[in-house]
């Protein structure tokens, strides 16, 4: 398939996944607020700050807003067009990507994403954001899920599918680490801010953001930093755990290149194989030894590395372009690089 198309499908799915995850994150935390007995401005800031920090967009946020209150954070993450990573921006970008590869998508798939886009720009959406936020986030989540469902049931299992799957799992792994990272910024019990039960509430919120509550309970464990980290990073079966997602990434990469698993034919495969081994044989001990935040940071860097190498291998193809004497590639790679730059900033 066309390199450009592969890249576009990959990003289309990443943006849908991103919108879905953000909707979960905000919804869960908004509901969590209701569990607090006393909230003053300071505590509110303490509550939302970590969420902004975990998305990695704190700079953009502080440029646009003075306060870190519920309204500001929610606006910023939900429908602020100035934030390229807000839910509505992600939906618009997903849809823009879909539009350029419309011929590759089933009618139903396009219609679902287009309907989500039209919803996100409708008066109805603004009304819900202001008056009934849970309904709004539910709409977004449902539509994102429907999108994935339609994709799964109408897309041939060919290269196009594998590139979409790559995008989904890489984004999902990234978002799971970011949800976990929220806890790194939380004031701890030692700061005299939180009681033990409130800390549990936070871990619960993280699990719920990942839609992992049921699956977690089924494995019958106490809610603690240890057990939640273990579940969300190392679970072999849970579809949003980092390990599960990276295994999927590794499978897709090898299906695309035709290289047997355990071997590699490009840097992306090499990195995914290495990372998967680390996750297969790692434990929470490693995590806390390194420090949770540092460990998650390192993971995110490795995801970015894999993403960059996928682009390098299948879209830029430096070696193959150089082999062709006539192809004056600068204009292509400049444009492509520009596009890549754009997308990177939105991670």
């Amino acid at each position: 398939m066309l390199s450009r198309v592969a890249n576009t499908l990959y990003w289309m799915v990443r943006y849908v996944e991103r919108a879905d995850n953000l909707a979960r994150l905000i919804d869960v935390n908004q509901q969590l607020l209701l569990d607090y007995e006393r909230l003053d401005t300071d505590r509110l800031r303490g509550f939302w700050q970590p969420i902004i920090l975990s998305t990695g967009d704190e700079e953009a946020f502080s440029k646009l807003y003075n306060e870190t209150g519920s309204d500001e954070v929610i606006r910023f993450l939900t429908d602020d067009p100035r934030n390229p990573n807000s839910i509505t921006s992600c939906i618009a970008l997903a849809r823009e990507n879909a539009r350029t590869v419309r011929d590759q998508l089933s009618d139903e798939l396009w219609e679902e994403l287009n309907a989500l886009y039209l919803f996100s720009r409708s008066d109805e959406a603004s009304r819900l954001i202001n008056h009934d936020p849970p309904r709004y986030y539910e709409n977004v989540r449902r539509s994102a899920m429907t999108f994935l469902g339609i994709a799964a049931s109408t897309t041939s299992r060919n290269e196009a599918w594998e590139f979409m799957d790559l995008g989904r799992h890489l984004e999902r792994a990234d978002k799971t680490t970011r949800f976990l990272d929220v806890s790194s910024y939380l004031p701890t019990a030692n700061d005299g801010m939180e009681s033990l039960s409130e800390e549990t509430l936070h871990w619960t919120a993280i699990l719920r953001s990942c839609g992992a509550m049921g699956a977690f309970r089924a494995s019958q464990r106490e809610i603690s930093a240890q057990s939640v980290v273990d579940f969300l990073i190392f679970s072999k079966d849970f579809p949003r755990s980092v390990r599960y997602c990276i295994e999927k990434v590794d499978i897709s990469l090898h299906l695309i290149s035709g290289t047997p698993r355990g071997a590699f034919s490009n840097e992306a495969e090499r990195e995914s194989g290495r990372l998967l081994a680390d996750l297969n044989f790692g434990s929470t001990e490693d995590v806390f030894k390194a420090g949770l935040h540092e460990y998650l940071d390192a993971l995110q860097e490795r995801f970015n590395h894999i993403g960059g190498e996928i682009f390098e291998t299948y879209v830029l193809m430096p070696e193959r372009v150089q082999l062709t004497p006539v192809a004056k590639a600068p204009s292509l790679s400049a444009a492509a690089w520009w596009q890549w730059e754009q997308q990177q900033q939105q991670q």
């Binding site: 398939m1 419309r102 011929d103 009618d107 039209l118 193959r320 062709t324 004497p325």
Partner: protein, 478 residues
């Protein structure tokens, strides 16, 4: 019938009603079916059809709008209906015309016999903006230049059809022809029953057959692609739509690369050779090496591959010379010259400003005439004499005198009208017709075409960029 109550056909040729207000025979069954709908039902269904376009993303971008506003092309659910014999007449006329145009283009880019014989003055061709002398002597596959033609037909007050222009470069709108039918079928399934409407869905298949036919590679299945300027182009939806219907890749210039005079596309598995390009980019932008140097849309080196015969383009390079409105004037003469036949479909009477007598006539009668720049389209570069201000007329007078080669004038043809739902009432609106003619192994025309409608009251300008909408076009079986 309540919706049509009080409908006034006016002093125009109305497609549905005769002068005396009676229904034309071939429209009667349709009118009966609409009569069974009450207005509320009609409006709900109309709204449904609009929603269909919006959900399918059949929209165009409004330029200079930062909000990324997208609009649908207005769609009127009252179809334009054409009896079988009328269509046969049009089909024969259009076939004759595309054959003659292709003979003309081949001649112009080879021996130029028609110029030597003095049928067309040489300077008209040599000064035509889109004439490409650098392609003289280049053979194109099967000697076909215009593979897809989107002629604009209009019907005057006398009920006769005229050809207004030929559009032999990159005519657009075929997707609307197909989607209008889909939308109408979904919203008003009942009105199709027992009507004998001829289907139009063969269009993508015919298009693909044609692309295969012109492939320079004889063994194996040719690789065909559709070359688009990109997703910000207002016709991008159509490009995607047609590519998908044909099952071919849609590519942008940057997806293609030319190596040793062969064209390849960049895929995840390396370079794949391309044989046929259905290009939706104008000549000017297609190859920055040969044409506009600043074009980032094109493919450097493409013209070398094309000249070497290693890749086919549809349409060929240089067909724009036939779209020149001065050259249009000579199409009936081409038909006589190459085919020895009487033109079946007449041109609209046309005056050439560079002919002395015509010039005199034009200057004298400006307020009654339509003046057109020879190489503009989309309703631009035009003077509508009867509705123009004095300043506008004076301005055009100067322009015509300064550059007579590039102006023609025509009498105002009062286009036929069709009942159209306008803000709560059925009113007559002017329409034209753009059929899509495909010239491959043989000439194929899907029955009907795109009926465009000028939604503004009394307006004669049907272009979508100027407030036009469209209708489904029904050609009935015998």
């Amino acid at each position: 019938m309540e919706m049509f109550k009080g409908y006034d056909p006016g002093k125009f040729y109305d497609e549905m009603f005769g002068e005396d207000g009676s229904v034309r025979g071939h429209c009667a069954p349709l009118l009966q079916k609409f009569g069974k709908l009450d207005q509320r039902d009609f409006l709900a269904r109309k709204a449904n059809s609009e929603l269909y376009f919006l959900r399918q993303g059949i929209t165009f971008n409004v330029y200079h709008d930062d909000q990324g506003t997208e609009r649908i092309f207005p769609f009127d659910p009252i179809p334009r209906v054409m009896p079988a014999n009328e269509w046969e007449h049009l089909e024969a006329g259009l076939t004759q015309r595309i054959v003659a145009l292709n003979l003309f283009l081949h001649d112009i880019y080879h021996d130029q016999q028609i110029l030597k014989d003095g049928v067309i003055p040489r300077f008209y061709i040599e000064q035509a903006k889109h004439y490409r002398p650098e392609f003289r002597g280049v053979d194109v596959p099967e000697n076909i230049y215009i593979h897809i033609c989107g002629s604009d037909l209009i019907r005057g007050a006398d009920g006769k059809y005229y050809v207004l222009e030929d559009n032999g470069r990159c005519p657009s709108g075929a997707s609307y022809l197909l989607e209008n039918r889909n939308a109408l079928k979904r919203a008003f399934p009942g009105i199709f029953e027992t009507m004998g409407v001829r289907p139009v869905d063969a269009y993508p298949r015919e298009l693909l057959n044609m692309l295969h036919h012109i492939s320079p590679r004889r063994e194996g299945d040719p690789v065909c692609v559709l070359l688009t300027p990109g997703c910000h182009n207002s016709a991008y939806f159509e490009h995607c739509y047609l590519a998908r219907e044909m099952g071919i890749d849609i590519v942008e210039g940057k997806d293609l690369v030319v190596v040793d005079k062969f064209v390849y596309m960049r895929t995840t598995r390396g370079l794949l050779r391309v044989d046929v390009i259905y290009r939706r980019i104008d000549d000017d932008f297609i190859d920055p090496v040969v044409f506009r140097k600043d074009s980032v849309l094109g493919v450097p080196g493409l013209m070398n591959a094309y000249r070497a015969g290693n890749v086919a383009l549809a349409n060929a390079v240089g067909t724009g010379v036939a779209d020149d409105k001065v050259v249009y004037y000579f199409v009936p003469k081409m038909i006589e010259y190459y085919l020895g036949q009487e033109p079946i479909l007449p041109n609209v009477p046309t005056y050439l400003a560079s002919e002395e007598a015509d010039m005199k006539y034009i200057l004298k009668n400006l307020p009654e005439l339509v003046v057109k720049a020879a190489n503009e389209s989309g309703g631009y570069g035009m003077l509508m004499g009867p509705t123009a201000t004095k300043d506008e007329i004076a301005d055009f007078r100067e322009r015509i005198i300064a550059d007579p080669r590039n102006y023609v004038a025509q009498p105002v043809i009062s286009l036929s009208r069709s009942p159209t739902w306008c803000d709560g009432a059925m009113e007559g609106r002017h329409i034209d017709l753009r059929p899509y003619i495909i010239y491959g192994d043989e000439v194929k025309i899907v029955p009907g075409g795109l009926t465009r409608v000028a939604l503004t009251k009394d307006s004669l300008i049907v272009n979508s960029s100027q407030g036009g909408g469209s209708k489904d076009t029904w050609v009935l079986r015998d």
